[in-house]
Amino acid sequence: MLNINIEKQLGQLQLKVNTQLPLQGVTAVFGRSGAGKTSLVNLLGGLTTPDKGEISLGDTLLFRHKTVNLPPEKRRIGYVFQEARLFPHYSVKGNLTYGMRHKAPELFDKVVSLLGIEKLLSRYPSTLSGGEKQRVAIGRALLTSPQMLLMDEPLASLDLPRKRELLPYLQTLAQELKLPIIYVSHSLDEILQLADHMLVLHQGQIIAQGPLTDVWNSEQMRPWVPLQELSSLICARIADSHPDYPMTRLVMDDGNQLWVSGLSPQNHKQVKVRIQANHVSVCTAEPKRSSIRNVLKGKIKELYPSDNGEQVQLKIALGNDELWANITLWACDELQLVAGKEIYAQIKGVTMTQMDIAQSH
């Protein structure tokens, strides 16, 4: 476990974090800019010092107020910054090997091929594209054989094509390496694709934390995403594909089925599917002869009227999974929706794209 119990005054912001994070998989640190995300990872990496408290990584005490403060070079924590921060006077190879404690040609070759930077080795950073620089920076951090990797919005400084280019590398990384990663981001797209756990920071405080789907679907998240972007994460298993149409059938824990397009049917893999609340409609009776392929039987758990009073967000229980639906107040009144009522949720299959489906690991 990574134990954090620290306080730090940063100008107006009082960062106060007391938590334990798992030492496996990717933990996303989510929050608006100015919430203290970067400050938190800087404290973990030893670049800044807490005012008081304690940080320990597994059995290693990294910081204890007034007694222990391991310098960054002794923490064995890799750090990938928002800007690549490559050393301009070293070649790519020089940058990669800068932090290697001893020669390890096998590890070097593995990391280089994992990141696809074989052809860049003799070049200098000034000749690389943004995405290439960031890949080298990631490789450089990995080659120090860290016990944990901090990534501070590694995609934020890149344009969309570069983001798309780098994301698969990060996915492979998260799966291939048994290395805990703390991933700072304000992009839910990235978090969906990469993270297993999630921690939400607001004004220096943790407001939610836990497994990704739990936090994603929780009420605490609702105020932090714009109404138009409210969504739920559903866990499902790939079952089979349609014999005649390019659609894949996913089966949820409670037996409900979900048809999605553009997914290669891999054997029984677990996936996470993001469903926008705006794409979900509800019926009180089972709809017949509808164009909508996905009709999920569930029960209303709770109703949350939006701040402007025009819409209502329904939380629908589907077995253990939860689904947000965003409907008008008028529809809600007419259908006499109340908590506990059984309903059918409809989701248009075409609204779910590749970006909404992520593999669970």
Binding site: G45, G46, L47, P72, E73, P88, H89, Y98, G99, A141
Partner: protein, 245 residues
């Protein structure tokens, strides 16, 4: 050797430079080179302190360091004489313990040149330290490098354009040093008579205008050459380090 080449003057039947000109030139080069090289480590340290460390009395330290730049050179020479001379407070001690004497020797001329050119060197290096991106140093720390290794592998190489230009400015300033040299170590042919001092002697001598003019031209040629070398070296160093990543 250089002196043989200059004396033989392969391009001309006459030697290109006369014997005393060669002596003054070589002495000037030696004094300036020693002054620059010997003061470089201290210069880097002072520049680093000024650029990176906040401490009490920094303003006073900064002012003291710049003092030789604004003091009349004769005052610097006089201060050196009373502190570093054979009878001086520090000079006496150095002579007794190490047998090191600055009085009436080329070492004294080098010391005077070093003191006078020191502020110029520190200014150039300090500016360069200030432009080094601290975030790169942080990144190096997270890669397992100690402060000292970060300084040697990241900070110093990225400062090299400033170090080069600081050395050349200090070298050029040392070549031209006159007032403090003549005050501290006098004007001894072959020992402390550098080009400016030799030129001064000729100007003082009636009918030696031609010799004075020749030294004047030599001075201009060296000064120009070092400025050109400075530009070339800085450009070369910048090419390696300038790109922002």
């Amino acid at each position: 050797m250089l002196s043989d080449f200059i004396l033989s003057g392969s391009l001309f039947s006459e030697p290109l430079l006369s014997e005393y000109e060669t002596a003054a030139l070589l002495l000037s080069l030696k004094v300036s080179a020693v002054a620059v090289l010997a003061s470089l480590p201290l210069g880097i340290l002072c520049a680093w302190l000024l650029a990176r460390v906040e401490f009490h009395g920094k303003a006073i330290f900064d002012s003291l360091l710049h003092l030789p730049l604004v003091l009349p050179p004769v005052v610097v020479g006089y201060l050196l004489l009373i502190s570093m001379g054979r009878q001086g407070i520090i000079g006496q001690w150095l002579y007794n313990w190490f047998g090191l004497s600055f009085s009436f020797s080329w070492r004294g001329a080098a010391l005077a040149a070093a003191v006078v050119s020191f502020p110029l060197m520190v200014r150039a290096i300090r500016q360069s330290f200030e432009t080094v991106d601290i975030r790169l140093e942080q990144a190096a720390r997270t890669l397992g490098s100690s402060r000292w290794r970060v300084f040697l592998t990241i900070t110093l190489p990225l400062t090299s354009p400033g170090i080069v230009s600081g050395m050349i400015i200090a070298f050029a300033r040392s070549l031209g040093e006159f007032g403090s040299t003549i005050t501290f170590v006098s004007n001894i042919p072959g020992e402390t008579r550098t080009i400016p001092l030799a030129m001064y002697s000729f100007i003082e001598t009636p009918g030696a205008e031609y010799e004075a003019m020749r030294l004047c031209i030599i001075s201009i040629v060296i000064a120009l050459a070092s400025l050109l070398a400075s530009q070339w070296l800085t450009k070369k160093a910048l090419k390696r380090t300038a790109s922002v990543c």
